[in-house]
Symmetry: C2
Subunit: 206 residues, 2 copies
DNA sequence: GCCGGAGTTGACCGACCGGTCTGTTTCTGC
DNA sequence: GCAGAAACAGACCGGTCGGTCAACTCCGGC
């Protein structure tokens, strides 16, 4: 049935996200993927031409899910500096949820997979760039607001948004190593100061 | 001969570091490891009980190499704030060197491998914690100096050092995604401001 | 001068890898 | 109610995986 087929594909993507988050790409096999999804090999390759194609789909869905949460924050009525800090709650919350069900902090699919496949598989590389671009938009929106209200000097929005993403990723790494999701939030406290220093040292026109 | 045996082990660790940096742990096989090292399977398992034991050895050597460079910077006569920024030159330089020989930015062995194996293999997890502790020492030394000279309010040294490491890791991720090692240096500019914000919001006694 | 052990070799192991193929079932459009 | 496509099943493929093993070389100590 068609409805079931869609959910089969979805199930595959969701379990893939779970497993790849836990052990990366190379250490998770197609058999395991199928078993965990409750489907057969043939069904797997009916929906995806390859294992790495599933990885791309997982990255896309994963990045869209987070982008939606970032958008909600960006469009909320809170003060811009508050919204900036709240962005960090998104990965922090996801990490806490994961930890409560799996027992350990999980990290970020984008950050984690980038080494393993970014170089080897161009499609994955593009998916990762797409994810960062998606996340940069709501974050850039808030940075815009910070500049407009004078909290921040004029600054390259895209570069600043990526700095924020980098701060998150750094925090996620600490969270993973120490198995403590609250480390992500700590990084949030310095984000605005960090951007301010960047704005004063590197004008956007440079 | 004994001399050759030591260098065989060293070769194995060095080529493992190269290969793991390029494609992670799971996607690099023992056969490839042996072929690239110019040795045989038996020799591999003469020196290491398992593939992941080699990973641990590679992490240890890798972290020691960087720790030595951090130490040099920490003990140099430069102003403390300059030393803080110079820490970021270490991964930036390594990334540039790698890019010039391999054509792409490589990332960091510790940051990259932590997802793949941190949970699965406790030995690797400990090696990663060891690496971060090693790096925290010279960085903490400079943070101490910043506090002593009044540039920074009193702050939890260990936590602050890990923040700096997190900033580096975030920068390394950007460098990898954009294949541009200079992204690491950009993160350095805001490091001091970031720590200052942290110091004022979270006193060390908390 | 030979003995023991470190170093090294490469064939070999079963398990599992990603992926293919041939069906069978189930839904949909007509 | 049937034709055709989409969904699903699962046996099967060659190859590679991490790891083992028995044999051999080489060298320092006695």
């Amino acid at each position: 049935m068609r409805a079931a087929s869609i959910s089969t594909r979805d199930t595959l993507i969701d379990t893939a996200t779970e497993l790849f988050l836990g052990r990366g790409f190379g250490l998770v096999g197609t058999n395991e993927l199928c078993a965990a999804s409750g489907i057969n090999k043939g069904t797997f390759y009916h929906f995806f031409p390859s294992k790495s194609a599933l990885m791309v789909a997982a990255i896309d869905r994963y990045s869209e899910r987070f982008a939606a949460e970032f958008n909600d924050i960006a469009l909320s009525g809170a003060p811009a500096s508050t919204r900036l800090e709240r962005f960090f709650d998104v990965p922090a919350k996801a990490n806490r949820a994961w930890k409560s069900t799996h027992g350990f902090a999980q990290g970020c699919l984008i950050g984690n997979i980038s080494l393993e496949l970014a170089v080897v598989d161009p499609d994955v590389q593009h998916a990762i760039k797409r994810a960062i671009a998606r996340w940069s938009m709501p974050i850039g929106h808030v940075i815009n607001a910070l500049v407009a209200e004078g909290t921040l000097q004029d600054i390259d929005r895209a570069a600043a948004a990526e700095i924020v993403i980098a701060l998150m990723q750094g925090g996620i790494l600490l969270a993973k190593v120490h198995n403590d999701p609250s480390r992500i939030t700590i990084l949030a406290h310095g984000a605005l100061s960090h951007l301010r220093a960047l704005a004063s040292s590197r004008p956007p026109a440079s």
